[in-house]
């Protein structure tokens, strides 16, 4: 019994953490390039609704997923134009993007409320791996989009830290002027990474509407985009730490339900609901102490529009 409860919580941690993970990875790329995009929630919603619409029409969740990427990427492109080309304030534009995304997703999705999805991403255990005790049911009895995130994280880590392109990405976030002087096209790269970041946020949204809770409901992300933004800081702009953070958030959330359902201990629910945030504060304190020593932090040029003439 103890064991199955543990497995339940851990498996739920991975499932609940995945949409946040996708969005957080996207935001990491975006912020690493020096652009702060607070529109994650809006892009997730647009991804969720567009993915759902296409998946319902075509009966193919993969088609839906691809369209979710494109739609959220398109929204991110608007953001990129406003903040990179026009150098609008990133915080304000990001907030506007969230509000816009919420509205436009509600508008587009109106006819799709109450319409079930013909085919969603189902749990697909990986044959041999899912038989491994503990790890199997937790990590390898998930759906395809979760497996995709497993691949994405190391790929992104490698890209960021081990390739020339990744070095350029970090450079334009730390010191765009220096990167520019070395012949790196700051504007083009920022555009690219903002759009890729948006696409990943869209993937997170699509995970919600196509796999986790297959349906479309207005505002169904319910604040997960904001958690993803917070997670980026929590993870110190590192994709590997983002995995830990996302699963931690997912796990503590699942834990509050499991504690209520599987035990007879009567704990006031308000106390349980407080726990994820208490834990967040504790972890942040510990992590900050650790990383301050190592001098890591936000990209130096984060949220500062780059202007060639203002040097």
């Amino acid at each position: 019994m103890e064991n199955t409860v543990l497995i339940t919580i851990l498996a739920a941690a991975v499932t609940a953490g995945t949409p946040i993970l996708y969005a957080a990875l996207g935001e990491i790329i975006c912020e690493r390039s020096g652009v702060l995009n607070l529109g994650v929630e809006g892009m997730m919603l647009v991804g969720a609704v567009c993915g759902y619409m296409v998946a319902v029409r075509s009966a193919s969740p993969w088609a839906g997923f691809l369209v979710a990427l494109l739609a959220a990427g398109a929204l991110a492109a608007i953001f990129a134009f406003l903040t990179i080309t026009l150098r609008a304030n990133q915080v304000v534009t990001g907030l506007a993007l969230t509000i816009f995304g919420t509205g436009v997703s509600g508008f587009l999705g109106k006819p799709y409320i109450g319409i079930p999805l013909p085919l969603s991403f189902k749990k697909a255990p990986i044959p041999v791996l899912s038989d491994i005790p503990l790890l199997g049911p937790v990590f390898f009895s998930q759906d395809v989009l979760v497996y995709l995130s497993y691949i994405l994280v190391p790929l992104l880590g490698y890209y960021l830290y081990r390739t020339r392109w990744g070095l350029n990405l970090r450079a334009i976030g730390e010191n765009p002027a220096a990167a520019d002087a070395l012949g790196v096209n700051v504007f083009a790269l920022r555009y690219t990474y903002v759009i890729i970041g948006g696409m990943l946020a869209g993937a997170g949204g699509a995970y919600l509407s196509l796999a986790y809770a297959p349906s479309w409901l207005e505002n169904m992300t319910a604040g997960r985009g904001w958690i993803a933004v917070a997670l980026v800081i929590f993870a110190f702009w590192d994709p590997f730490r983002a995995v830990l953070g996302a699963y931690l958030f997912g796990g503590v959330d699942a834990l509050t339900y499991t504690l209520q359902a599987s035990t007879n201990i009567q704990v006031p629910v308000f106390f349980l609901k407080m726990m994820p945030y208490v834990l967040t504060v504790i972890v942040l304190i510990v992590v900050t102490r650790h990383t301050l020593a190592k001098r890591v932090g936000a990209p130096a040029a984060l949220s500062i529009p780059y202007d060639r003439e203002e040097r």
Binding site: Y212, A213, L217, Q260, S262
Partner: protein
Amino acid sequence: MKKGWRVLLILILVLAVAVAAAGCGGQEAAEDGNGENQTAAGEGAQDEKMKVGFIFVGPVGDLGWSWTHNEGRKYLEEQLPWVETSYVESVPEGADAERVLTELAEAGNKVIFATSFGYMDYVIKVAEKYPDIVFMHCSGYKTAANADTYFGAMEEPRYLSGMVAGKMTKSNILGYVAAYPIPEVIRGINAFTLGARSVNPEAEVRVVWTQTWYDPAAEKQAAISLLDAGADVIAQHQDTPGPQQAAQERGAYAIGYNCDMREFAPDASLTAPIWNWGPYYTRVVEAVKNGTWQVEEYYGNMKDGIVDLGPYNDIVSQEIRDLVDAKKQEIIDGKFHVFQGPIKDQNGEIRVEEGQQMTHEEILNIDWFVEGVIGSPS
């Protein structure tokens, strides 16, 4: 020069975004559907059509609470061709509500339905300023000369849905995904439990609080934790079909809420206690028109049809249907009362003596769980 062009472009874009958002978000969406009415209801036509306004706390697309009220609004318009309705959705329970209510009053509405608890004080405030307009507030307890309250005895169909769940369970563990520990929700859990144990004394109800009305993923997660704890029927006091989907995926059963949710979980969703506001709205508007309207603090029941048990899933056997339908008739005939004694609380103490029944006041303020519920009522 260049800078000025940029500023202009930003302004245009921001404006475009704002216009699009206003149009899409539907913050103040006028009546949909009948475009002809809108144009026809010019100045000359105002005498013919009576205007009725609605204010909703959530989006009408929530497939839950606000959705059921909006269905009632549509029904009203269908039934009474001389009525013209409009609504404002997603209005927070705060100062915004007062502004929206005032706007609806200024727009010439003769009856205004405010469909969420938190609008209460604003309804009374605005009602004072517009004595010729009738204000109807759902689920509150404050009235005025031109402001009344209305609500429904959801505990009656909840009891019946509990009977279905009690009959269908094999593990004798029923899961209940619940939003907030407030009397309305606790009342529903108690009625559900009483119903389930009336046909299956072994049944226990495990409650998980989600602290949200509206989060499909969280609700689904809560349902999964209950399924993992051995529950094989999931009931819900939530506004999305998330818990139903969890049951569907695990091959378990579920009881919906607000409206029929079988579409989302065709094999799992057994039935649902549902709201049916339309006939009541029609009665109120007719009464206002005829001048017979008065404050009555309406608390409707299954007899009136404002609450009901939704259609059964095919899996529910005829035997169970007959049993539940018979009890439904007893409730409608007034022979059976959901909260009639003996009722014990969670600790086994008798709270309602045999032969007694809880008063309306006690039912409205209930803050303890009946025997058979596992969970904390706070």
